[in-house]
Symmetry: C2
Subunit: 433 residues, 2 copies
């Protein structure tokens, strides 16, 4: 008898009433008298195999009873549509081979501590909620590329190894680069600005690094950020692009990840309300609102996480806070011509307590003002020589922003801690696996 | 009079006989008596503005004559289709404003040394050949994502900051990670292997690092690599995936970057011949062929760059060399059951002298054999604990490969040095800009 063809579980609906094999890992075995059930995961879906004692050889029957969780198996049988089954189909098993018997699997349905799970991240990835979260991440990533590609942006990969350029000195990872110090990039922004005169609309997407001693649910030392930059766009156009982008990502997840969002028990009603335009609060107005709520904040202070959460509570979608005081923001942001105490910038705050997912600004395009800011902040002027060149050779108005991937995916999936939305999280106390 | 609408140059064909403005940078100014020409680049294309003395105010006429290269301008005029013009259209100029006068631009049409150009990479990006090469890169990157997305692969971002795991000890960049050493990843492979039991078919795409003191046209210290990994795929299926992938990338570049390939004077005939199946040479056969050509190589040696080039000369498309001797390859490659001196692996060599663009293999899935190899190579066993777990909890046949982005794009564009195919190259002696 020829071997049955191997099919991926997600394609079983094309093989109803045929005999096929699936290759995968055993999630669960149950035996009730003369009937047994083995749930197999093959990475494209899960399917239950039904073992009927009297229809099977002793070997096959015994093998199913003794299969440890996460063993690799080849399970062969006739495909039956069954809406009650996980995945919508089941296999009436005809043959079953254990390809590799697993040792006692460390992750059990019981409650494990998070340190234990993170220590076993290489196995924890196989768990249902982790699979669902990371599939949403992958879908959002493809959506990021599609959004910019469809709009004629050119992708520009910015370097990780850099001279001392960064926004947050003191939180840089350093390495020896053939005898001179190099630092891991915290942003690709300055580099994408340089690419604007070549391509007008550009973006980068990659890992960025912060050697911060933060242990919150919103911090990773290595996280992914997408940073578009648009020549001749002002701050208003920048916010409109952010709106369109965030709506696109949310819509795409709703459209193509409904199964995953359901597994994650995500209430999708708040996501369905994410439509442009988003409300915009001037920084001054935001401070007044916060003071009226009893927050201890003065004009000039940056907003803290509890402030961000409070500001979103009055709205049913993400909220912009724009034009912050100069001293609260980075040196490269453009001075607001209508109020030089402030800069043309915005933060986008996600609803439901998720806080800032985007920081954006129009960039300072005046050479003298930019130089003055670099000096005021005591930054190493010589390191910015090439960046200043962009203001010497045809300076131009331009704006851009950075969206944090893990924060965005945590919000879309409704997960509490962003460390679950990256395959191998790096935290202050965690570098393995 | 209301201001004319700003349009992107690539969309001029939709505005023939209308008056529009373009915003961009001046590439070139010529004046012949009573007619002048200004070529403007806006990042989406270039267009020539025609200035007719008698139709323009003194201010406008004078402004055009005095515009330094790379100044930012707003040029307004009526769009005329003109097949002889660069870009296929020209503007009959009605108004012209210099938004920012550039300083003397350092890059001139004359021959500059490569060090000078690399020192000015932030400006060199604006040059025609650099723009063309990087556009092809961006197109190939989108094609990479589309290829895997269309085939149901799940993208898995692997970490840059890692414990001491890597293929080439001694060529690692090291950093202090809150008191313990961390290393910049040389590959994401071990991590994507861990994700196979969750998603079956996965891939990563990101920057990788080699602290190698190599100064060749094929080396960067920071380069981008795409690494797919497929559960239950053997070495043969792995080579078929590589073939399909490379054909897809080449076809996509031919289809959507014809203008760029023409700018780069790329002869596309060799690219059009890149069709599956690719010839396959067993390592032993490759050595015999090389010896017959007079190369000084013995069975057991790895192939050098000149060997790779020689092997491709007899064929009109990329060539696989497969099943190398164990000692020439990494510890994680699966022993060849038909010849245990060798491993189930392949390198894909690009034609026209470009050499290796892919290294792939079936992975050793036997715990004991893998452990023995780790010990033989004197690798730190404790660092591979989690990787060995993958062989303890449902081990499975699987294969994957890594394709180097810059080498591939250098081949597709026909450029000599891969440093031009990454926006900000990092070389042994170069960390800026």
């Amino acid at each position: 008898m020829p071997e049955a063809p191997v099919v991926e579980i997600r394609n079983l609906s094309e093989h109803v009433d045929e005999t096929v094999s699936v290759l995968g890992w055993v999630e669960h075995v149950r035996t009730h008298g003369k009937v047994g059930f083995v749930v197999v995961r093959d990475g494209t879906g899960i399917v239950q195999g039904v073992f009927v004692r009297k229809a099977l050889s002793d070997d096959v029957w015994q093998a199913h009873e003794e299969t440890p969780q996460e063993s690799t198996v080849r399970m062969t049988g006739r495909v039956k549509a069954d809406p009650r089954s996980p995945g919508g189909h089941e296999l009436q098993v005809e043959d079953y081979r254990v390809l590799s018997r697993a040792d006692d699997y460390p992750i059990q349905p019981k409650e494990h501590g998070v340190d234990f799970l993170l220590d076993h991240r290489h196995l924890w990835l196989r768990s249902k909620l982790q699979r669902a979260g990371l599939r949403v991440r992958a879908e959002v990533e493809q959506a990021i590329h599609d959004f910019f590609y469809e709009r004629g942006f050119v992708r520009i990969d910015t370097p990780i190894l850099t001279g001392s350029i960064g926004e947050h000195a003191g939180t840089l990872f350093e390495t020896d680069y053939f005898g001179r110090p190099a630092f891991l990039a915290q942003t690709g922004q300055l580099y994408v600005e340089a690419a604007c005169p070549a391509f007008r609309k550009v973006y980068c997407f990659g890992p960025t690094f912060r050697a911060e001693k933060s242990k919150t649910r919103r911090h990773l030392t290595e996280f992914w950020m997408v940073e578009p930059e648009v020549a001749f766009a002002d701050s208003d156009e920048n916010m409109r692009l952010q709106e369109a982008f965030v709506c696109y990502l949310v819509e795409r997840a709703l459209e193509r990840c409904s199964e995953e969002l359901e597994m994650l028990e995500r209430d999708t009603a708040p996501l369905e309300r994410v439509k442009a335009p988003f409300p915009r609060l001037d920084y001054g107005e935001a401070v007044e609102r916060l003071r009226a709520r009893g927050h201890d904040i003065e004009w000039g202070d940056d907003l803290g996480a509890p402030d961000e959460v409070a500001l979103t509570e009055d709205f049913d979608r993400p909220v912009f806070v724009y034009n912050y005081p100069k001293q609260a923001k980075a040196f490269y942001m453009k001075e607001n011509p209508d109020d030089p105490r402030t800069v043309l910038c915005d933060d986008l705050l996600a609803p439901e307590g998720y806080g800032e997912i985007i920081g954006g600004s129009q960039r300072e395009d005046d050479l003298d003002k930019l130089l003055a800011r670099i000096r005021e902040e005591g930054l190493p002027e010589e390191a910015y020589g090439w960046y200043l060149d962009l203001r010497r050779y045809g300076t131009f108005p331009h704006s851009g922003f950075g969206l944090g991937l893990e924060r965005t995916v945590a919000w879309i999936t409704g997960r509490h801690h962003i460390r679950e939305l990256i395959p191998f999280p790096r935290l202050m106390n965690r570098l393995d696996p």
